[in-house]
């Protein structure tokens, strides 16, 4: 009786059995790598905006307080995106002929808002409140990164649940004194472990990790 399979089939079989194991491992690593990459998470990817607004210039070099524009951050869940009028408080006086700022002036004339491209967005099934984090001593840069060094704004953290939980499980590693919350150049002290534990106690910070804390 003639052979059904060629001799080489033995090799092919062995290679495909072990090869598929290797391929499966490689695939899981590739998927893991992809899910952690900026391609998927959008971290460190500066976004083009209708006007190339620079936080480095305004918050870093000029030292304008975060709350000058993000007015509702201390009272509300939403920090607030400033209306065109806020821009015009200065730009009606300076750089009034700048071509770069023409969209701002156009918006002011027409009353139609600038359509900023959102950089940090949480899904709708997550409840997040800025004010409580501010009041418990979580600084702007803890989540938003080195904002004073961003010419165009980018997302500094993944905003994934594991990242949220990293702080919710160990707030003492991230908390800072309340008077430093809006300091974009704040660096945690060497004794953060001591200071953090003390602030957690003083500000009565709870480690809230119930599902319903955020998924209400």
């Amino acid at each position: 009786m003639a052979q059904i399979f060629h001799r080489s089939t033995n090799t092919v079989a062995r290679v495909s059995i072990y090869g598929s194991l290797v391929a499966l491992l490689a695939l899981s690593f590739a998927l893991y790598g992809l899910s952690a990459s900026p391609y998927y998470t959008d971290v460190n990817q500066p976004k083009d905006q209708p006007v190339p607004f620079s936080h480095r210039h305004h918050a870093g070099e000029l030292g304008i307080d975060c709350r000058y524009c993000h007015t509702s951050v201390e009272e509300s869940s939403f920090a607030g995106v400033p209306p065109t009028q806020t821009c015009m408080t200065c730009h009606s006086q300076i750089w009034t002929n700048s071509a770069m700022l023409e969209p701002v002036r156009a918006s002011y004339r027409s009353g139609r808002s600038l359509e900023w491209i959102r950089v940090n967005a949480l899904p709708d099934f997550v409840y997040f409140n800025h004010s409580i984090h501010i009041h418990k001593g979580i600084g702007c840069t803890t989540c938003h990164g080195p904002i004073a060094e961003m010419p165009l704004t980018w997302k500094a953290n993944t905003l994934q649940m594991s990242w949220c939980l990293g702080c919710h499980r160990a707030p003492e590693k991230f908390v800072r004194p309340r008077d430093q919350v809006f300091n974009p150049n704040y660096q945690p002290p060497a004794d953060q472990a001591v200071l953090g534990a003390q602030l957690v106690k003083e500000y009565q910070i709870q480690s809230l990790t119930n599902c319903s804390t955020c998924h209400r």
Partner: protein, 452 residues
Amino acid sequence: MSASHTPPIIEPGYTFASVSDKISSIILGRRTPRWWWLGLAVSISILMVFNLAVTYLLARGVGIWGINIPVGWGFAIINFVWWIGIGHAGTLISAILLLLRQKWRTSINRFAEAMTIFAVACAGAFPLLHMGRPWLFYWLMPYPNTMGTWPQFRSPLVWDVFAVSTYATVSLMFWFVGMVPDLATLRDRAKNRLAQVVYGFLAMGWRGSAVHWHRYETASLLLAGLATPLVVSVHTVVSFDFAIGIEAGWHATIFPPYFVAGAIYSGFAMVMTLSIPLRKLYQLEDFITMRHLDNMAKVMLATGLIVAYGYMMETFMAFYSGDTYEKFMILNRMTGPYRNFYWTLILCNVLLPQVLWLRRVRSSVPMLFVMSLVVNTGMWLERFIIVVTSLHRDFLPSSWGMYYPTRWDWATYLGTLGLFFTLMFLFLRFLPVIAIAEMRGLVPAGSGGKKE
């Protein structure tokens, strides 16, 4: 019972060659019988109903089912438990009876294992569909994820995931490994090229050398050793889905043994339901003899009695505990709005199967077939009663309600029967329905044997 009256496990007059001929000719030899086409057509039509029901479910969500508060677990869980229970007979036959050297298992183990795998496939569909968003099923697996959380390991539903996926994997391996020598037989006997290549591929280069047989025997025993605890553990974990919940009618220590016995009970009933038409249609009465049917009937009788003891103890404990809710639950089962289901269940699972004590019944094929259907029905009703009556009137009378399955519930349930029988018909046509190599082992010594 004297030995002379015991029917043999294989009729006399067979040789190695004639056993191989008879079983492999089902696949290779004769023309595909007309009843097979008819059966497959009917099964596939029902499978299409399943596809329709699932498609509509994915489009609209689980609201199309009759589930709601207070009965959040309706048909999905009833059918899951029913199917997974049916699978247990296959594992019992292939693993425990192999280790116990019960030779009569030989001719029924292959299709009982197939039944297990197909039943697990049907069972697995229900929790997946009940999730509402089945495409996120992988959230049930512990893997490093962006949520920074693990599944809730304290929940028996998570234990279920491991129990059932282990069960499916081991059953599939056991089935396939056991089939390799037979696939080689088919490869060697096949005339057309396609069949040779396909069976040859599946036979994985089996040459029947002494080394191959040695490894085959070792692998079978190892897999049997792995599968044996599963017979007990899988349905124990399934019973924990209920027993861990603090709900009258669920929170009982008797649940694990009572569920395992019920699983084997319904599983043997299903093996009987399948084997009776099978032996008739393929003229396999010489291989699946009256001895097999008699033994299966006895297993059903024994496990049925354990199940009956379970019902009795549930009732007894309700009153003995003095717990108001337990007492109310049992009275509600017996006299509440679902009382007809309860008493039909008692009739099907406890009263009618007592006829199996009579040898006259055990040697009557039609009677056994009817009894197997009765037990299948009874075991389905048992799960209905456990799930629905405990939930529909629990601690808070203001939230009492009724559970009515919708047409989509029925379409999904009947649809899985379509899935099951489609797979079964394909199996009958393309794979050896009886283990050829093992049957050859029964030939020399006839009804007894010195070799496995």
